[in-house]
């Protein structure tokens, strides 16, 4: 019985050892190879003192080695913390420090960055360690030089490879232990770590593999990086089904035709991404020029799919199933809706009904359950998929994991999503918007407050407001309106440069404007509604 995520791998490896587990460019690993390699990683980590409850960061794009690395972390009884390889060092350093990770598994290109990060992560009595990953060769001299330059021990991959692949014996972890921590935007200026246990994740993974109808014949891809929760699907649900996880090469998603070409050559059968990638594919992918007959299921989540472009995609690829999945990182996917032709004609595509083993309900502002299409309310989620809380932030956790608002008397906590919904006539929930100032940029959550907090760090800034600019084709973009004391003291370039030092690219405003003062409401607050309308 699989009660830990790594059991999915050991069970599949025992059942079908020779089947392909991962195809990532030229690198292909069978289930047996992946299982053995991850055991070696686990043994290396154990040797470094990593054990149950410890956090190990992973700094690498999605690859065969990175997946072996994260299974290795789990097998060691620890929890992995995926870092955004594209985020600035300041933010990564915060995440490493906040999570208390003392070991980072990094790919060769990011060895130095990883060494800086473990070095800067606080008052370590012992130096932090970087596990240099790479399936190819070893890195002798440069590894040594790097270790000398930073207060960090660098363990080369050759050492991992030399470990025994014998299974580690009885698992120390239990299903309520943490499997991973995903950092997401926080409204007060620093990211917060969403703690997901094995049980939380498996609840989603088991449902998702069944909902997508995955079989061992499938080739599954999500272009989402490791720190984005969509990647939980292609890593773990694929493994549960014994299917093959295909990693799309970096940069392929920039050109819609390249995606289409890759889908064709890879014989991909299941795709899971944010809608914006699919919009581009529908509009500019020349889909009729490619044979995508193998593609059978297209799943999207993370933001609203404009119905016009979804209809276009469905017309281009009429043989596929289309699934709209909804759920904040904190709950995993909690509702789902299978889209039929014409579903988006009269308005947004519903987010659907609760997934298996999950309950969702909406509560009106006067505390009643939403039960008809004329009412709207905030969506709540209940079930074993809910996160354990925000890492190290009990007060923030209490704001969202709350007693049942309709008082069912069981004392169980439920998650309040901050999303406003209504109930469609067929019993499907329909997303209306946010209760607060969170926006989605290409599926990533962005708290406008966090962007503003980063801008305020600049000494020349007196006032700042960030508002979303929506474009149906391009999705939301961010516009910063800033008042400075001395107009000559800050240029647009300098401001954006400053933002880049603190924020990942998707959170850096696209547009920056300078004003003498910002408009105010009658209560003296910055008038964001007015700014957003301009």
């Amino acid at each position: 019985m699989a009660y830990l995520l790594q059991h999915l791998l050991t069970e599949t490896a025992a059942r079908t050892p020779q089947r392909l587990a991962i195809a990532s460019g030229d690198c292909r690993l069978s289930y047996e190879e992946l299982d053995r390699l991850s055991t070696k990683v686990a043994r290396s980590l154990r040797r470094l003192g990593v054990g149950r409850g410890d956090r190990v960061a992973i700094l690498a794009p999605k690859s065969a080695a990175a997946v072996a690395g994260l299974y290795g972390v789990l097998k060691a009884g620890a929890c992995y913390v995926p870092l955004d390889p594209k985020a600035p060092a300041q933010r990564l350093s915060y995440v490493v420090r906040d999570s208390g990770a003392t070991v980072i598994i990094a790919d060769e290109a990011r060895l130095e960055l990883a060494a800086t990060l473990v070095t800067s992560s606080g008052d370590l009595a012992e130096p932090g360690t970087v596990l240099a990953m790479g399936l190819s060769g070893q890195r002798g001299a440069s590894t040594a030089a790097c270790a000398q330059a930073y207060y960090a021990a660098i363990r080369p991959w050759a050492e991992v490879a030399a470990e025994s692949a014998e299974p580690l014996g009885q698992d120390l972890a239990i299903e309520t232990d943490l499997a991973y921590i995903l950092y997401t935007s926080g409204s007060t200026g620093t990211p917060k770590g969403v703690m997901i246990s094995h049980r939380n994740s498996l609840t989603f993974v088991e449902w998702a593999a069944a909902a997508a109808g995955l079989t061992a014949q499938d080739r599954v891809c999500s272009p989402a990086p490791l720190h984005f929760d969509l990647s939980v699907f292609d890593i773990f649900a694929t493994c549960l089904a014994g299917a093959c996880m295909s990693v799309i090469p970096d940069g392929t998603t920039t050109f819609p035709i390249s995606i289409a070409k890759w889908l064709e050559s890879e014989h991909l059968s299941v795709w899971y991404s944010v809608p914006s990638v699919l919009t581009l594919l529908a509009c500019f992918g020349s889909l009729s020029n490619f044979d995508l007959s193998r593609l059978r299921t297209v799943i999207f989540a993370g933001e609203v799919f404009p119905p016009k472009y979804l209809a276009r995609l469905m017309a281009e690829l009429p043989h596929c199933r289309y699934l709209n999945w909804y759920g904040p990182t904190e709950t995993n996917v909690c509702t789902a809706f299978e889209v039929a032709v014409g579903d988006g004609d009269g308005g947004p595509v519903p987010i659907g009904r609760a997934c298996a083993n999950t309950e969702v309900f909406a509560v009106t502002c006067d505390g009643r359950r939403v039960s008809s299409p004329s009412e709207e309310g905030e969506l709540y989620v209940r079930g074993p998929a809910l996160m354990r809380g925000y890492w190290g932030q009990p007060a923030k956790t209490q704001e969202v994991l709350v007693p049942h608002p309709l008082g069912d008397g069981h004392g169980e906590l439920v998650y309040r999503t901050g999303d406003l919904v209504t109930l469609g006539p067929e019993g499907n929930y329909i997303y209306l918007g946010r209760r607060d100032s969170m926006v989605k940029i290409r599926g990533y959550r962005v708290e406008l407050g966090e962007v503003e907090a980063a801008i305020y760090r600049h000494p020349a800034v007196r006032e700042a407001a960030v508002v979303p600019v929506t474009d149906e084709l391009l999705g939301s973009r961010l516009r910063a309106v800033v008042a400075v004391d001395d107009a000559a003291s800050l240029t647009r370039e300098a401001l954006l440069d400053h933002c880049r030092r603190w924020l990942p690219t998707y959170m850096v405003p696209d547009i920056a404007e300078f004003r003498e003062t910002l408009p105010r409401t009658s209560t003296g607050k910055v008038d964001r509604t007015l700014l957003a309308r301009e």
Binding site: K86, G251, T253, T254, F255, P256, I257, S258, S276, V277, L280, F284, G285, S286, N289, R442, L473, L474, G475, E493, A494, L496, D497, C499, R500, T505, V508, D510
Partner: protein, 86 residues
């Protein structure tokens, strides 16, 4: 043409000021200056500014690698541009 396109890309898409001033030979894709969405915004700009239609099949890496390759692509379509203007 180079100046116009370089100026637009510098103003709209370059977020890392270490890359400014932008050279016409700077790799736009590898450096992350152009991604799927900024690429489309650029295409809309080129279509409006130069009176052409960029077909799906022209949306290829080789046409957008650098400012120079964008200009080369546009020059190859010059007859169309003249027709549009005339």
């Amino acid at each position: 043409m180079e100046t116009v396109i370089n100026g637009y890309i510098s103003q709209e898409f370059v977020r890392d000021t270490a890359l400014l001033p932008l050279a016409d030979e700077t790799p736009l894709l590898e450096s992350g200056i152009l991604d799927s969405l900024s690429l489309l915004q650029l295409v809309v700009f080129l279509e409006e500014k130069f009176g052409i239609t960029v077909g799906d099949t022209d949306l290829l890496p080789q046409n957008f690698e650098t400012v120079n390759s964008i200009c080369a692509y546009l020059r190859a379509r010059e007859p169309e541009m003249q027709n549009a203007q005339g």
